[in-house]
Amino acid sequence: MNEKRINLLVDLARVGIIISITLALVFLIVFLASQEPFVAIYSFFIGPFTSIRRIGNIVEAGAPLMFTALAVIIIFRSGLFSMISEGAFFIGITGAMIAAIAWRLPFPLHPFGAILFGGFCGAVAALIPALLRMKWSVSEVVTSIMLNYVIQFLSIYLVNYHFREISSSSLASLLLEPTAKLPVIFPGTRIHVGILIALAACIVLYLFLYRTALGYSIRVVGDNQTFARYSGINAAKTMLFAQIIAGFIAGIGGASELLGMYTRFKWTSSPGYGWTGIVVALLAKRNPLLVPIAALFIGYMNVGADIMARSSDVSREVVDIIQGVMMLLIAAEALLGGFRQRLIVSAAKLEDSLKSPEIKLKQEKGV
C-alpha cells in the first residue's frame, strides 16, 4: 500500500467515525430530552425528504453556506485565521439592501449591481482585520470577531435609522424593489438563481486556487510564509488579496441570500452563516469542489432540526451542538493518527524486506 492509499483509507475512516459519532449524539440527545423520541428522530432524518418544498429547503439552506465556506477556505488557505466571513456576509446583506431599495435599475442590472455592491462591502470588511494584521501585526482572530459585532450593530443602525418600515412594529426595512429580486428557478420551491452563483463560485474558486499564479501564491504563503518571502512572492500582498476575495465572496453570498429569499431586511442579529461556514469548509477538506456536498449535508441537518423543532418537543439548537462537536472532531488532526502510523510502518517494513541491503543503500545515495 502506498502513502496516498493509506491517507485515503484513513480519511475515509475518519469521516465514518465523525458521522457515526454525530448520529449517535443526535440519538442520545433526543432520547434523553424527548417524550416522543421516535417522532423527533423521524422528523430530523426523514422529514427533510417528505416534500418537494422541504427538499428545496435543503438547497436553500445550503446556498449561503457555500459562499461562507468558500470565504473561509480562501482565508484559511492563505494562513490567516480571520473570522470575518460572518461579518462580510452580513454587511453583504446590508449593502444589497441599500442597493435594492435606493437604486432604480431595470431587472437583470439591478440584482447584478446589488450583488456586486454587497460583494464590495464584504471585501472592505474583510480588508480591515487583514490590514491591521499586515501593518502592525494585530491578532486577526480577535479583531475580526470584534468587527463582526461592529458590523452587526452598524447594519441594524442603518436599517433602523435610514431604511426602516415605519408601519412595522418589529425591525424591518422598506420593501426591496421587485426589479432587484433574484428569480426562482424551481417552481414549488424557493431555490433561486443564487444557488447557481454559489455553484459557479465553487468551480471558479477551485480553478483560481489550482490554476492561477495568485492562487498558487496563496497556497504557498499559507503553507510557509517564510518560504514565500524567500522565493520572491509578496506574502503581505498575497494575503491581502486573499482576504479581499474571501470578503467579496461572502458579501455576494449575503446579497444573493437577501435578494433570493427575502422581500425585506428583517434580521435583528448576525445570522451565523459565517460560523457554520467553518464547519462546511472543514468538512469539505478545504477543497472548493467538495463544498457543495458539505454545504448540502449541513443544510440537510439544519432543515431536519427545524422540522423536528416544529413537530416534536426537541428544540432546533441540537444542530448547533452537533456542528460544534463535528468541528471538534474534524479539527482533531491526531484522530486516527496512530492508525495511519501503524499502516505506514508496516508498509515500510514490507518494502524493506523486499529489497536486498545493497539496493537499499544505493537508493539512499540516490545513485
Partner: protein, 307 residues
Amino acid sequence: MPAIFSYIFSVDFFFMWIRVATPIILVALGAVVCERSGVVNLGLEGTMLIAALFGVLGSYFGKGLLPGFLLGIASALVVSLLFAFFHLVLKANNVLCGTAINTLAAGLTVFVLQMVTGEKGTSASIKSYSYPEVNIPILKDIPILGEILSGHNLLTYLAIVLLFVVMFLLFKTPLGLRIRAVGENPHAAESVGIPVVRIRFIAISICGALAGLGGMYLSMAYLPIFARDMTAGRGFISLAACAMGRANPIGVFVSALVFAFFDGLSNILQVLRIPAEFVQMMPYAATILGLTIYSIHRAHSLQRKHS
C-alpha cells in the same frame, strides 16, 4: 460634550466601571495562566456561557448558592478539559477548537435552558440565587471612595484577591515556574521530565475555573438571570486584554480596566441621545482600537531599538 464629563466624573460611573470590569478581569486572569503555558484559549467565550447557565441551574435545583457555585465551576472545568483534550491530545488547532467550543456552548445553553424552563430567551421563570454584595467596614463610611469601592459583589472582591493569587502562583510556586517554562520552551521543559501536556491541562483548567467565575458573575451578580448569548464577546475582549497586558497579571488588570471603561461608558451613553446601536458597538470598536494602538506602540518601540 460637558454632559458626558459630568456623567463620567460621577461616583455612579466609577461604581459601574468596577462592576463591568469584574468579569473581564476574572476571565483575562484565566487567559494569562493559559497563555503563559503556551496556549491561547479561544474557547473562553463558550466556557463563560456554559458556567453562566449551569451556575444558575445549580442554584435553582440545589436551592442555594453553593450548589450553583459548584455546578458552575464544574461545568466550566468540563468544557475546558474538552478543549484541552482536543487541542493537546488530538492536536486540533486552537482557533478551530475554540470556535467549536463556542458554537457548542451557544447551542447547548439554549437547548438546556429550553428543556428546563420551556423558554429560549432567559431563565427569568426559575428562581436562582445570586452572589451577595459586600459592604466593607470602615471603607464604606469614607465619602466618595467608600461609595465607589464598597458595596460591590463578592466576586468583584474575589477578582482582586485572585489577581494576587495568580501572581503568586506564576512567579513564586513550582507549578508557576513549570507553567512559564512550558510556555516559553516546551522542549526544554520536556527534557527535564516535565510533562508538558499535563502542565497545560492544569493551566487550561485553572483558566477554565476563572472563566467560570467570570461567566457566573454575569448571570448571578451583574444580572440575576441567565440570558442566551449573554457573554456577548466578553471572552474575546478578555483575550484582547491578556494580549495587551503582555500576559503580565498587573498589565492585564490595567488593560481589562481600559476595555471595561468603554463598556461602562456605553451604559452611561444610553441616557444621551445617541443611537443605541452606536452605543452597543462601542466596547467592540474600542477593543479593535485598543489592540491596534497597543500594536502600533509595540512596533514603534521595536523600531526605536533598531535605530
